[in-house]
């Protein structure tokens, strides 16, 4: 096992990554959805208190986009959604193919697509327009330094978060013992778990773009590309059960709508 994989991805730490520590939820904005977790530790409570404080100060920052309702995101996206039945066929594992090989090809694909899509909005997504990596005002994604797990997850600007995320993933893609390039070399044992973590984090880039840059993407004429990419992504995740509904956060409703439409068209 490579040192990169060991230092950047500890499979025993997956539950930690999955836990709510990587995002903060604001109870004020979703009173019906927010459930007080009885086992919530002190650190989380402190974090939430901090978030509420921050939120009040953040609302005065000009330029922070406020596309905050599910309905609004959905309306935007629905205007451009095509039929996904061809995509639904394309995500299926070909007969006899190795699952890890198939997952690997797709991780590379979604990584590239998001690089392309986010690349077009880099002029509009700066530390001043998006000082925090958020998706609607309800969700903020925090970054945990992969090199130092004892440090608590930190709030970053959206471009800072995306850059850290993409660099983190690129490290795996370049590592021959994680994404083998030589014929016959198998994938590491933790590969499926790593794929789930990568996909979960990649999804946050879609969420940020939908919630805070959809107008701009629309004006640039890339809405069909973004929608196709997301649809492909969620169909792939469903096929291999990579993400759970809560990983979709503010996009949960849009995602289930995309999957429903696909069910009808088949």
């Amino acid at each position: 096992m490579s040192s990169f994989l060991q230092s950047h991805f500890n499979s025993s730490a997956i539950p930690t990554i999955r836990s709510t520590r990587t995002f903060r939820r604001n109870p004020d904005l979703s009173p019906t959805k927010f459930q007080q977790d009885q086992q919530q530790d002190q650190q989380q409570q402190q974090q939430q208190a901090y978030y509420q404080q921050e939120l009040h100060s953040a609302s005065s920052i000009p330029g922070q986009r406020q596309v905050s309702s599910h309905k609004e995101i959905r309306q935007y996206a629905e205007q451009t959604l095509g039929s996904g039945s061809a995509l639904a066929q394309a995500v299926k594992l070909p007969k006899g193919e190795d699952v890890n090989e198939w997952l690997a090809v797709h991780v590379v694909n979604f990584y590239n697509q998001l690089n392309m899509l986010y690349g077009t909005v880099t002029e509009f997504c700066s530390p001043s327009t998006c000082p925090r990596m958020i998706a609607t005002q309800e969700y903020e994604y925090l970054w945990q330094d992969p090199m130092n797990r004892r440090k608590p997850p930190v709030s970053m600007s959206a471009p800072g978060y995306v850059e850290a995320l993409m660099t983190w993933i690129q490290g795996f893609l370049d590592d021959d013992s994680v994404f083998p390039t030589k014929m016959g070399v198998p994938f590491p044992r933790q590969f499926p778990a790593l794929v789930r973590t990568i996909m979960k984090r990649l999804f946050r880039v879609y969420a940020h773009m939908y919630c805070h840059h959809f107008d701009e993407i629309n004006e640039l004429g890339l809405q069909t590309h973004l929608n196709t990419s997301l649809k492909h992504f969620v169909l792939f995740c469903r096929e291999f059960q990579l993400l759970s509904p809560k990983d979709y956060g503010p996009m949960d409703e849009l995602v289930s709508r995309m999957l429903d439409d696909d069910g009808k068209s088949k």
Binding site: E97, E101, V108, Q113, M116, L117, E123, F124, T181, L222
Partner: protein, 89 residues
């Protein structure tokens, strides 16, 4: 549209943004053409192989099937690891 101001159009019409948008559109077009081409041709290959295997003795069948599956997997891996930009620096 109310949210988008003059500043947006200035940036959107800059050569840099226009180039990025074009590259992105080309990438998607190329990717999805290639993907559907791959999916369809692979389905055809499977059908073809299965037809041929039907005529073979039982033991020979699984041997040849594994041989075929191995070559498909090698092809897929090659596709994933095709030279990237950085390899040319």
């Amino acid at each position: 549209p109310g949210r988008i101001g003059r500043e947006f159009y200035k940036k959107a019409n800059s050569p840099k943004t226009k180039r990025l948008v074009t590259v992105c559109q080309m990438y998607f077009l190329d990717y999805y053409c290639d993907l559907f081409d791959y999916v369809i041709s692979r389905r055809d290959r499977i059908k073809q192989v299965e037809e041929i295997l039907d005529g073979l003795p039982f033991q020979e069948r699984s041997l040849q099937w594994n041989n075929y599956v191995g070559r498909e997997r090698a092809f897929l891996r090659k596709k994933r690891t095709k030279p990237r930009n950085k390899d040319f620096h």
